[in-house]
Amino acid sequence: MGEIRSHGDNPEDDNNHNHLQKKPKFSSFITQSQIQQEFAHHQPGVARINNGSFGSCPGSIIAAQKRWQLKFLQQPDDFFFNQLPAQIIRSRTLIKNLINADDISEVSIVDNATTAAAIVLQHVGWAFAEGRFNKGDAVVMLHCAFQAVKKSIEAYVTRAGGSVIVVHLPFPINSNEEILSEFRLGLAKGKSNGRKVRLAIIDHITSMPSVIIPVRELVTICREEGVNQVFVDAAHAVGSIPVDVQAIGADFYVSNLHKWFFCPPSVALLYCRKSSLSSDLHHPVVSHEYGNGLAIESAWIGTRDYSSQMLVPEVIDFVNRFDGGIHGIIKRNHDAVIEMGKMLAKSWGTNLGSPPEMCPSMAMVGLPSCLGVLSDDDALNLRNHLRDQFRVEVPIHYQPLKDAEVGPRDEGCGFITGYARISHQVYNTIDDYLKFRDAVNQMMQDGFNCKMLVSRE
């Protein structure tokens, strides 16, 4: 059992400080070599440039998690009655400060953004069933919403008689203005037959293709257009862009903490603005805490491993070992991913799918047209090919042309229809991106085309 310490250690002694304000114990910040040590468990030889999908967790946090897991194994009753509730409150308090929420009652901890979407949409489903919303009332979503969210809308809204307005955002994209005008148009069109729009679901950072959305402005537009409630799906946000939920002004806001905030899988925050409307949210897994408010309901959904939800204090300690804390990390990741993105685009004769200011810690880099990414299957096959043949882990996005004659072109004048979503997290080095660069150049040299790949079963 490796790092599990013996009974008698009390990690809680380390955690009785206000972690957000804590300065590093030593005058020096964490070094490159210490960072590599923290991520030594990452598979060597793999260019891991997909932090966006499953996140990452440093060794010291994994060790802290094992200590909490050990406490459960040692004496589970004592753990559940005496330790778990206090530690969850601690985590929630730190999260509240992190996102600038007004009150701790607004912060619930759930497994992931997928769960949060189910909570919000189930609430909408009840409103339809209980006649507060009328059949045909609408929910608005972006065309590139995460697949799980789309399915959740089907499962809870469509099934209950609600309708869905889909707003298409352009990609590649050049400015926030394009998004704002498309959204305004799409929302107006959707309301055109007098439908009431009950909920808008807006990504803060879209997944594929990945772009930072001007949510604050979109929330304003929603309010102007009479949308009842706004739910921001910010799965990628915490740890990759600054988050201020009061400034954003949405009713509901969810972000995963295991993607960019160094928590182990899985933990997410669900923020619900205090108002009479949001008081009727329930966790779908009902326990004896039913009716005590979403935050309390979410803190106990039966016996399970809650350890990943208890680590926020340790993660804040970790983050504060870096120069500038989380904001320093955010800035350096952003600068690095842009630099690497531009390097790749230059080498391949392509371009980025969005301007740098619309990129978080991820960037969409155009792939040379000769690779022939002409479908979602091609994108997935190419991703597998890169993993298997070149040991590069990076997700690929297929972007169909709006119009057969018009679209972004590469240096060879072919249309760019494939983009790689590269991520940069603290453990990445330039070699990861050089490896990717060389892999694609090799494929171009070999005359590779996606047609050569066979789909997996």
């Binding site: 967790c57 009840w126 399915k151 959740s152 779908p284 009902v286």
Partner: protein, 458 residues
């Protein structure tokens, strides 16, 4: 072993320092339990397999949160490490086949017909939410009419009762609780009460749409005759028969085909040595039932088993070690059967010892006990409420380092000096007689010092 053996034996635990095994010898009778033979034969070092348990605590509450041997924890850690090493590869290449492996193992264990009938979920609480949400939709989509009834036991688990409130009552269903006397004396009492409830549920032209039946109730703990109750429900044409068997797997025999319910859920982290948390939800007819996991992912519509296998990024490692847990179990003579019998015999023996010393009674007859027993606490302790039981439990934990949950039984009118508190003692393979002697002595200590729960009112 005959019951004579149980009453005559003095069990003597000998900790062998050299090779770390615990051998139990009967000083009066040389027929060692066959389980002990196997322990020595195959060198299963129970002490090292449960070395993470706090050694100062008399841990006689396996029923609440279960337990997990070191071998299985280590297997789980290996899966977690693989995820941390390369999560994309883990998700794309390893997760699905590993979950399928676990589902196959469970299918065999519970005598299900086909692996499609087996979904893996976090816990029985989640299993209940899935079934009850389905019932909610049936009310909304007018398959069931407002006022139609749901029948459940009065002793149903608290979370399940709330779930019924959240999904069934809220959707227009009417809930009837089956009152059962406690202490309970026989299966017939239960069957009679249940029949009455079904009759009540049909009054005024209503239909009984849902029956929620515990296989082993939690507090107080009683093994319920589920097969007979399911049969009654079928005769009445109940649409949805759901067995909440949170405690069952690993403590009693489970044969889902024989039981015949529509849905059956049980936790594997309680009595089957899996880490927290994992449960299965068995669905007799997955295609027809249209169940959905409440956390909707891109797998929506692919069947409850597939939907449950992906509910967003999270740690699935506890769900992947069912084969390793069964491997552990099979190191014992007669495997799970042997462990079940051993635990039952020991808990019965310990329960009888305790009621004899305290002069009280058992709340549940021994033939309606699994690996848990309900032992009456001396009346002089003055347990007068649920709150008293929680405070007494904490007191036992803090001052005597005994971990045991306590049930409050309201006295009937006219009862003289009634037993109002029952301790639910568990026995799992890591327990020793000392655990129960410590409990025995703690209560004797409280009694002789004149302790009553009145002190909690201060």
């Amino acid at each position: 072993m005959s019951s004579d053996d149980l009453s005559d034996n003095h069990y003597h635990h000998n900790t062998d320092e050299e090779n770390g095994t615990i051998t139990t010898t009967e000083t009066l009778n040389n027929h060692n339990s066959s389980l002990c033979k196997k322990i020595n034969l195959f060198h299963i070092d129970i002490r090292s397999e449960f070395s993470h348990h706090n050694p100062t605590v008399a841990r006689i509450n396996n029923g609440s949160f279960g337990s997990c041997p070191t071998s299985v924890i280590e297997a789980q850690q290996r899966y977690r490490l693989r995820f941390f090493q390369q999560p994309d590869a883990f998700y794309l290449n390893h997760l699905k086949p590993s979950i399928l492996r676990s589902r196959e193992a469970i299918k065999t264990l519970i005598n299900a017909n086909h692996v499609d009938e087996i979904s893996i979920v976090d816990n029985a609480t989640t299993g209940a939410a899935i079934v009850l949400q389905h019932v909610k939709w049936s009310f909304f989509e007018s398959k069931f009419n407002a006022g139609d009834t749901a029948v459940m036991l009065h002793y149903a688990y608290g979370a399940v009762k709330r779930s019924v409130e959240a999904y069934v009552t809220r959707a227009g269903g009417h809930v009837i609780e089956v009152k059962m006397p406690y202490p309970v004396t026989s299966n017939n009492e239960i069957i009679r009460s249940f029949k009455n409830a079904l009759e009540l549920g049909k009054l005024n032209n209503r239909k009984v749409r849902l029956a929620v039946i515990d296989h082993i109730t939690s507090m107080p703990s009683v093994v319920i005759p589920v097969k007979e109750l399911v049969k009654l429900c079928r005769e009445e044409g109940v649409d949805c028969i759901f067995v909440d068997a949170a405690h069952a797997i690993g403590s009693i025999e489970v044969d889902v085909q024989d039981i015949g319910a529509d849905f059956y859920t049980s936790n594997l982290h309680k009595w089957l040595f899996c880490p927290p948390s994992i449960a299965f939800l068995h669905c007799r007819n997955p295609e027809l039932s249209n169940l959905h996991h409440p956390v909707v992912s891109h797998e929506y519509g692919n069947g409850i088993a597939i939907e449950s296998s992906w509910v967003g990024t999270r740690d699935y490692s506890a769900q992947l070690v069912v084969p390793e847990a069964l491997e552990f179990v099979n190191r014992f003579e007669d495997g799970l059967d042997g462990i079940r019998k051993w635990n039952h015999e020991k808990v019965v023996e310990m329960a009888e010892m305790l009621v004899k010393v305290w002069g009280t009674n058992l709340g549940t007859p021994l033939d309606m006990c699994s690996s848990m027993a309900m032992v009456g606490l001396p009346a002089c302790l003055g347990i007068r409420s649920d709150s008293d039981t929680l405070k007494l439990r904490s007191h036992l934990r803090d001052c005597f380092k005994v971990e045991v949950p306590i049930y409050y039984k309201q006295p009937k009118d006219g009862e003289v000096d009634p037993v109002t508190g029952y301790a639910r003692i568990s026995h799992q393979i890591y327990n020793t007689v000392d655990d129960y002697y410590r409990f025995r002595d703690a209560i004797c200590n409280l009694v002789s010092s004149g302790f009553t729960c009145k002190v909690f009112q201060d």
